[in-house]
């Protein structure tokens, strides 16, 4: 396990993230244009989705898929309750901000999903292609729970205005559409498609991932520099403890389902991750009173680096032990 941690720490991905983080903290003008960052995210989600689909075309869908999705949805619905309780008990965050942060931690981070699959490929550990669908299914439920919590304190915009419209926007948000769309295309075109797209979508993946993590390091570094004031001790502790709680719950669900080591590692990582794209945008619409900087600083500034450097190798090691 220490081997794994070290190998992870010294992987190009983690090192490029650290480079970006360091550059931002040193106030270097190194930067990745917004359009390029969006290209990188698009590419990575397209690649992961597509490869998942190809894998499913090859191995077929198992009954485990349904169980894994159910487990993911259950986690996403319940984790915000735990997160909210924890935040209210330990920190000074008011109910609305606590609910908004809880939504982020109940949902999942596509960025972290990309990172764990990169790490698994590097270690040549297989995971089931349908985990792409599990990831997509875990994005939304946490938002519902969080809004139910917040409803007791504020008349959320999503009630006064069009709640349905907001939910539709979350369901059709770009990252889900490209992830599931590429998954479907991979499943339809199978090996034929994979051969055609291999040089671009598969071989170049680690390189794109390094560039993307450099950018995430820069953004996280800038976020930390500007969001310092939100990082009280209890709130920062939450951003590390909550992933571990989510990871434990996911592990407990993965074993009875009988997921493979790779898929178990993915499910654990998803539960341990905090949303950075879909939930923040939904919160701006539904809970505008919440300060977006708090959740973003925690999610990308604390939890993502923690997961990238320590969490993911830990989750992979644990999954290797507990999974069949």
């Amino acid at each position: 396990m220490i081997d794994l941690a070290l190998q992870n720490l010294l992987s190009p991905m983690v090192l490029f993230f650290v480079l970006g983080l360091g550059a931002a903290l040193a106030r270097s003008d190194l930067s990745v244009p917004e359009a390029v960052a969006k290209l990188l995210a698009l590419y990575l989600l397209m690649s992961i989705g597509f490869r998942g689909g190809v894998e499913v075309a090859h191995h077929g869908l198992t009954g485990q898929l349904v169980a894994a999705i159910a487990a993911g949805v259950l986690l996403s619905f319940t984790m915000p309750l735990i997160a909210y309780g924890l935040l209210r008990a330990t920190s000074r965050l008011d109910p609305v901000n606590a609910a908004a942060v809880a939504a982020h931690y109940g949902s999942i981070s596509a960025v972290t999903f990309v990172a764990v699959t990169g790490m698994l490929s590097q270690l040549a550990i297989a995971y089931d292609g349908y985990m792409v669908a599990v990831a997509a299914a875990m994005e939304t439920p946490a938002i519902v729970t969080a809004l139910m919590i917040a409803r007791r304190y504020v008349k959320s915009e999503a009630e006064t205005v069009e709640r349905g419209q907001m939910m539709r926007e979350v369901l059709f948000n770009g990252s889900i559409v490209i992830l599931l769309g590429a998954f479907a295309i991979g499943a339809i075109t199978g090996t034929r498609g994979a051969t055609l797209l291999k040089p671009f979508l598969i071989d170049a993946f680690p390189g794109f991932l390094c560039l993307f993590l450099l950018d995430m390091g820069l953004v996280a570094g800038r976020g930390l520099a500007q969001g310092r004031r939100y990082l009280s001790v209890p709130v920062t502790a939450f951003a590390i403890v909550m992933p571990l709680i989510g990871a434990t719950l996911a592990a407990a669900l993965a074993v009875p389902i009988g997921l493979s080591p790779g898929s178990t590692a993915v499910l654990i990582t998803l539960a341990a991750s905090a949303s950075y794209i879909a939930v923040p945008a939904a919160m701006r619409l539904a809970l505008p009173q919440a300060n977006p900087a708090i959740a973003l600083t925690l999610s990308l500034g604390v939890t993502f680096p923690f997961n990238l450097v320590f969490g993911i190798p830990l989750y992979i090691a644990v999954a290797g032990r507990i999974a069949s």
């Binding site: 930067s31 990745v32 244009p33 917004e34 960052a37 969006k38 990188l40 995210a41 960025v111 915009e157 205005v161 950018d215 820069l218 953004v219 800038r222 500007q226 969001g227 950075y276 794209i277 923040p280 945008a281 919160m283 701006r284 619409l285 505008p288 009173q289 300060n291 977006p292 900087a293 973003l296």
Partner: protein, 103 residues
Amino acid sequence: MQTHPKKRIEIVTEMPMLRRITARLDEAGVTGWSVVPILAGHGQSGDWTAEGQISATRQMVMLISIVDAARLDAVLDTVFAVVSTHIGFVTVSDVAVVRPEKF
């Protein structure tokens, strides 16, 4: 060249709100609007920059609409109702145009 007075409304708002606000502008009967990008900013909720961002959450844009003074109050009312609970603000200034019938 003869010019005619109109009002220039400038709305600085969060990207996720854009669709909702333009829908309100359309309802309020403005004849047109334009969206200008903002790269970075500073305000009561801190600093932000679009650099390297893949999420639109902390990103602002500037909506510009030239309207007739007669319609100003209606537009401000409907827009302000949405903007007021969110990050952002609205300014109004005087401009002169050559083709008054366009606005």
